[in-house]
């Protein structure tokens, strides 16, 4: 989940407790010590993320390696698969969901990913400031509105919410990619928010 420390945002954004600066994350309970990891746990760490062996997040979740393996597969397929919704728009969905859920850590990581992919951070500044009105185009606004509604009121989603995305030019495959990236952040935010806390690097 971490972005390489070499990435520096063009402009630092700080708003409502959110930031696009790099953060670290510390678990509140005991993590698996690498020296005591089973071969299966080592294999799952290696397939989850390039930096998983030095990340408290992965070292905590690898207490249940089979669950982590499936979660990492789903996450990577949703956020990185080629085709469909642009990767920047998937990152926008992820950032909106994290902003609504109050996940400062995920908000930071995915604000940075959006900026790396889109080469701008104007929409992110808007999402941090006031998500309800964020979006620099009608298409972005539709993506943001859908991401807010599925986060706050999933049971109220209906055909009209899909039609609003189609009206801005999203096809079924793109809508599905947005749905997946919004939904996977319902998952990711709850782990990051409830198992530990973000820290500014020393």
């Amino acid at each position: 989940m971490s972005t390489p420390a070499t990435f520096q945002p063009a402009t630092v954004i700080r708003s409502h407790g959110f930031t696009n600066e790099s953060l670290e994350w510390k678990a509140w309970l005991d993590v698996v010590q690498l020296g005591e990891a089973t071969p299966d746990q080592m294999a799952v760490l290696e397939e989850s993320h390039p930096k998983a062996k030095t990340s408290d997040y992965y070292l905590f979740l690898v207490h249940q390696p089979h669950i982590l393996r499936e979660r990492s597969t789903a996450f990577n397929a949703i956020m990185y698969a080629p085709g469909g919704l642009s990767r920047a728009e998937r990152e926008l969905g992820a950032t909106v969901v994290s902003r609504i859920n109050g996940c400062v850590y995920c908000g930071s990581v995915h604000a940075q990913r959006f900026e790396q992919l889109a080469k701008r951070s104007d929409t992110i500044a808007q999402v941090f400031e006031q998500p309800e009105t964020a979006g620099t185009t009608a298409r972005e606004k539709a993506i943001v509105q859908f991401s807010i509604k599925i986060t706050e009121q999933p049971a109220a989603l209906d055909a009209g919410d899909i039609d609003a995305l189609q009206a801005e030019g999203l096809n079924e495959g793109e809508i599905l990619d947005l749905l997946h990236s919004d939904a996977i952040f319902a998952w990711a935010n709850r782990l990051m928010l409830n198992l530990g806390e973000p820290l500014l690097p020393a």
Binding site: W28, L29, D30, F60, L61, H63, Q64, H66, I67, L68, R69, E70, R71, T73, A74, A77, I78, A81, G84, N101, G102, C103, I150, T151, P154, A155, L157, D158, A159, D161, I162, D163, Q166, E172, G173, I175, L176, D177, L179, H180, D182, A183, I184, A186, W187, A188, N189, R190, L191, L193, N194, L195, E197
Partner: protein
């Protein structure tokens, strides 16, 4: 339950069948569909240690009811009945609160449901004290990880079902 068109739980619950545009879009992302089903299988694996299958199904029913997600609540209620779970405990998940588990002399389940409620409804309020209430109730770290992944997965699963239902409704409205 109607006859399943596939053995994919999400397809079954949403009623997605080959030939529909929503089904086709979903299965263009087969790796995601497979990992979604794989996560469900791993989280409800009867052989998973640390947290009993009945505890996991009670969490799932309670979380589905809180969201609410009626199709998922019905699914998890049926699985609890198949597992011959105690009817009084099913009633707590279906209609009660964590304190009701306490009154049934189930303090471990009360702690689990209380954590579930916070994560489902107000994840931002889940601070360190909320998490540490679990080991204080005798729940091991691997069980805490299984429980946290389960509640977080359910938050994903209910939104995936809700979004696919909306996509299917839109497809049918424009057919």
């Amino acid at each position: 339950m109607t006859t399943p068109v596939t053995d994919d739980l999400i397809d079954q619950l949403v009623g997605l069948a080959p030939g529909s545009r929503t089904y086709a879009a979903r299965h263009q992302r087969e790796k995601v569909a497979a990992a979604t089903q794989g996560s469900y299988n791993a989280l409800f694996d009867p052989a998973l240690p640390d947290l009993t299958l009945t505890e996991r199904l009670l969490v799932a029913l309670y979380a589905s009811r809180l969201t609410p997600a009626p199709e998922l609540a019905a699914h998890y209620r049926e699985r609890l009945q198949q597992a011959q779970a105690d009817a009084a405990l099913i009633q707590v998940a279906e209609a009660g609160e964590p304190q009701d588990a306490q009154r049934l002399n189930q303090p471990r389940l009360a702690a689990i449901l209380s954590f579930t409620r916070t994560l489902i409804e107000k994840p931002v309020e889940g601070d360190k004290a909320v998490l540490l209430a679990l080991p204080a109730a005798g729940i091991s770290t691997p069980a805490v990880v299984a429980l946290s992944q389960l509640i977080a997965f359910l938050s994903y699963q209910v939104r995936l079902v809700a979004g696919l239902k909306a996509m299917k409704a839109s497809e049918e409205a424009h057919a």
